[in-house]
Symmetry: D2
Subunit: 426 residues, 4 copies
């Protein structure tokens, strides 16, 4: 049971996303490709100084970003700026960072062509995502929509017996206005949006859900929920014999089946229709083979006892999260979702990805660190007002990756790609 005092907010969330649905439709219907942009990113898969310099120059001309820290032309020295990010500091780990794009996104917050930085040491990863992005670009872009938002904390309260619990829960479910007020006092950004109750014997899990503005928000919801719990403990007509601020029910840092019913962070769904020609020419396979692969691999993953059904969301998300100062450990929950591919009657391929657990932000956390801020700015995703945009780019990135790996596997190129890029040559 999930008894919500007010989940209407979520429906309103959807309504809000689709408020300008006419504009979205307009954008989707008028998809087109700026031919001048096509293939401008100097791709050279062997890492050479020359190609690196070309790419940097290209990115600077396209986005105005000099990437001083990332390129090493500026070195980091302001240790005190690290406060709140690290303890027992000893230095900076350097993670090789490549770029893909243009990744064209048609969304409710993200609209345009993006060059997406990926920090990884796994050969073939950037090349693979780049290929998927190219297919999307040539097809006019991926439609990507952030549907709903919410971050939770789920404290658990334990009672001597369920009658005591009953007294408590009746009281607590009537305090939502108070909880909203406490939230407003505890945080400038957090908005209390929902409360649900889960009873299991003498255990009561209360799930507090919040909008966290443009921050990923885990700390914010921890502090607000702690303040609410203090109020509860002081004022409840009956006290729990024990309580913990997190019952391990909220899904923090773990994949859960709950994801598909709720949201954790931001829920994004992204789709594309790829004409047969693009599948043939860019992805080197056929829509039919990709749909066949999808069907077989979906039955395969079901047998593995996984949550959701997808190929390798973790690859792109981890690389993007590291590059842009997200909490990379959240890949544990973010890399969960549903990929779908269908061979359509007109010969094209329909493909979509749905990610219910994108815990991401464009303020706070690691977003202001030297290279991370640069990488966010490369996509115009740094700072307030950018988190939904960032999430919609995540969706498009993940879609590009799913298309590319499914193409490689359906065409029998998966192994050769790894032979080419994924091994040290020495």
């Amino acid at each position: 049971m999930s008894s919500s005092s007010d989940k209407t907010s979520k429906a309103l969330g959807i309504l809000n996303t689709f408020k300008h649905v006419e504009q979205l439709i307009e954008n989707i219907r008028n998809k087109s490709v700026d031919e001048s942009h096509r293939d401008q990113l100097p791709i050279e898969l062997n890492v050479s100084e020359e190609s690196t310099l070309k790419r940097r120059a290209f990115l600077k001309s396209e986005t105005g970003q000099p990437l001083n820290y990332l390129t090493g032309s500026q070195s980091f020295s302001e240790l005190n700026s690290l406060e709140g990010n690290i303890e027992n500091y000893i230095g900076m780990s350097m993670v090789p960072t490549g770029v893909i794009g243009p990744l064209r996104v048609i969304g409710s917050a993200a609209n345009g062509d993006f060059f997406v930085p990926l920090a990884t040491s796994e050969g073939a990863l950037v090349a693979s995502y780049h290929r998927g992005a190219k297919a999307c670009y040539l097809a006019g872009g991926a439609a990507s929509v952030c549907l709903v938002e919410g971050v939770q904390r789920s404290p658990v309260f334990k009672f001597s017996n369920m009658a005591d619990l009953g007294i408590f829960v009746v009281w607590v479910l009537q305090q939502t206005a108070e909880f909203a007020a406490i939230t407003a006092q505890s945080s400038r950004f957090a908005k209390f949006t929902d409360l649900s109750a889960n009873i299991e014997g003498n255990h009561l899990i209360l799930t507090f859900e919040y909008h966290t503005g443009d921050a990923a928000g885990q700390n914010m919801v921890t502090l607000c929920t702690d303040a609410i719990c203090k109020f509860i403990l002081e004022n409840a007509p009956i006290k729990p014999v024990m309580w913990f601020l997190e019952s391990n029910y909220s899904g923090d840092k773990k994949a859960t089946a709950l994801s598909f019913t709720n949201v954790r962070g931001k829920k994004v769904t992204t789709e594309i229709i790829l004409p047969e020609k693009i599948v043939n020419e860019v992805l080197k396979t056929t829509p039919e083979a990709m749909a066949d692969y999808w069907r077989s691999s979906t039955v395969g993953i079901i047998q593995s006892g996984a949550i959701g059904a997808q190929g390798h969301y973790a690859n792109g998300l981890t690389a993007l999260f590291i590059a842009t100062g997200q909490d990379a450990a959240c890949v544990a929950e973010a890399a969960t979702g549903i990929t779908r591919m269908e061979h359509q009657k007109d010969g094209s391929l329909y493909a979509s990805v749905t990610l219910p657990n994108l815990i991401v932000g464009t303020v706070g956390g690691g977003t202001g660190l030297p290279t991370q801020k640069e990488c966010l700015e490369l996509m115009d995703c740094y700072g307030p007002g950018k988190a939904r945009k960032y999430a919609e780019i995540c969706g498009a990135l993940v879609l590009a990756g799913e298309l590319s790996i499914a193409a490689a596997l359906s065409a029998g190129h998966f192994s050769s790609a790894h032979k080419k890029f994924g091994r040290k040559k020495t």
Copy 2:
């Protein structure tokens, strides 16, 4: 159904791990704490230049590692060394890196005190793991054992009907000697160890399992399986109508329930018995409260539909993986496991963690990159012969993190720790 041509290897794997069980027992029974070592790591949670320099000096004296790239005293320029790690390179993302320790490990491969580098931008993470490590150290160290190893690829073969599949599978299950030979020709390091068959209608998933030496091994097993499949397709008495090199059954880059029955990479289990005094003084709570928290949180996570039951394996593993050149996207599968805490009759706390999916290596991948190699060397975990050692340290790290978060939650300090370390002060 999993029909194995030879899973005996896994039992032998266990036997092998426990071959020197007498030595392990000896080490466990004679646990002690080197008082001189205690608290030598200059801890200063605010990031200052002075404390940073002290820590570097301490680590150099303890381990002999100057950490030139990590500290920025040497800058990176040899772009061509990145080949095989990245495409479309534009620069280096810098991730703040702290250190915890000494983390004392009593294992079958790792034995001693380790200073463990963690790359993260999430405040409070390093401090929390450090606290857990301290508790383990004072209790004489965590026993950590790498039990079995294996990495899989799971191609799927599709037939017109299950009779054709039957002819094929009867033949293929008799070719294991051939598969071992092909593996030996395809890779210097991979050893073919097992084959199992999963039939679902006209689909046959064959899972090939390998030992991959000290490499994480995903590329290795891809190439070997591809070579085996080519042999199969040429020689089988009947050809599949379709096949794909990976059926999405192997668990690559995703949490699966399969984990607990099989292994993916390395399976490690780690345990500690913490005297009440250490729980009180270092973890600021009681064994009873921690066991209570464990019980409540285990029931909580079950209700969330997660796989396994743990607190935040992803935090420590992601930070260590980034620092040491692992495939950080593998956190999706590695951050799965079972944590257990029990209040024992003598008042102490028994705690264990079990990680069945540690895809890690000490050769290949990103292990040779500048800062990553340094961080591996800091733990004497760089190069051949070190992967099991590294895995056992992972287990101890994760245990430290579980102890610390459970202590914070059971004592009501979870929120205040995040208030202290986890926010930018500005």
Copy 3:
């Protein structure tokens, strides 16, 4: 994401359950055992005519039910009464039926001592549940509360793209008043209570939730949702390219992780505190051993990749469902839940079970069949106004079974019980 137009109903559901919480508390606090009742049910585990007659006489005197069909004193002949229950009828399968009790229940709808009929061919099952019921009875009864109710249908609508879906969903989420009206026209009993939306690419799953009075309600919600969908298809501003009345998301006839977040049918939680003496004397073990077993078995079930954590809910529920004309196939979903056992400081055992998926009814379906109606009447659970009562008895039955099996396993008697009762002697 689950976006609900109104889930407030669920919170109100809880509030409603606990409306008379004072009375519930009163009942729980004043638990006592009617000593005259104790052990009156003539238990004789070998099946003999004499003991059978005694039990029938006892039940008749206690409950006034002659059980004519069940005992065979009346034979069935009115074939036309089977219409709506069976097609291609050839006869009646006879399932041996035993009884346990008194099972004392303290609930919001069920209050009193019940003799519970169980139809099964598995030896030891009835004896085991009877033993658990006896322990509960001697401890003053199990507190059992039906928390919330709801049955769902989840049609899926497919669109050309997500922009079309957006137009549709914006419209559909505003039609809830219309949906309630259509429901009222389609069924005398169903009440439309909630609508939630799940978007995945160009797929929209709408979950319609209903209260179904005292019927299990699956047919009812099918017919109502069909009527609503017809309205939607006629009036929506944009039509789906495809739609299906059930997306396989509702959890009909299958265990789902969704269960713990939602409800399917009725959610019941039941608890008891067993004094050490009763555990020793009736269950032949100790509270400590049972709590130890619970902890080990919970970690065991987690590793098996099951949903929830319980021992053998299916045994008692299947036997009761067959005896009382429920849809026994719903055991697939009903036998999901959480069992918890704790050794308390005062030496007693706390135990609870939570069943979120009890699809049960006391009207319609097979409830009016000859023996089934008798078995319902034996518990005064036949007809309107009895479904919540029946559900609370289910909870207490399941708790009795969990106690008994955990006791047997913790004491090492599991095998001997099966040797004694579970085998044909020949």
Copy 4:
């Protein structure tokens, strides 16, 4: 980790199943329909005495079975024959029983046309399965193969620490010959086939797997494992501090993700290719619509967090299990599997079901009860040597049900079927 001392047996199991693969192919290739048989079962969906008598006469002429108890022409009186099946007996629950067929099966053990008894009170169920069976019959029959067999018990042993556990496990893995001998002494039918070890901290779960002949086998494996454990406890070089005969890992009475990797009972896979004409005429829909429905519903069930992907296995299995004296509570685990439907290039529909957890038997348990024995005999499935045959019929039954429900949902007839059959007319 699953470390097996010998899982080769399972591969051999497959080899054994496919030993006569040529004959199976022959049978599949020469599929044909006996036109004289077609539609002979007097179907009359309204329950009338006349149609009931006709069906009984037809079944008697076809199978020679008079079904005396089922039809009520003989009444039950030998109470002592119930020993081992029930305690506290009070009478017989009567469950309405219909029949479907002919269900044509082409298997490794079942070959021929079967009339399948289904005991249920849910209207529309029998009609729906009958329709699916008709489609299969007209297409020449369903190929159904029992692939592997095995029933498990999973005791858990707990030690002071993992070093003690290591000593124990090294010893225990070397005792498999002894375990086989103990099994042979403990049971005439059980054969010890496999042992695997799962280590989690100081917990060791040992999974003992057996062939149980033609019995479902749960009691048999309990007794054998108990005997083995007694040997272990007497002879092990180190004793566990605690142990339980079942760790709740074996999957007894619950759906587990483990199912797809292992087997529990019998694993059966069943397939059919339905020509477009049969889909149109019998199922009233198109192969394309059914494949579309399959894809949508598979994505739907994934989002619900279920195990496997299927429609309503529980319906047919529960009804068959009740009619034939199986342990109906095992539906909790048996109703797990994978359904797949594909629209093939030649316009036909490929469909398959895979059930890894069929805990069924044709000797022992409730198989010898009056009506249950008759229902088994109706399919020539009573007694020794019939269990694999019975399992293959289960597969075909389940396939028929999946076809029928998917057809109804894809054609929009799901609701009307329930309106027609599923409601009391009064």
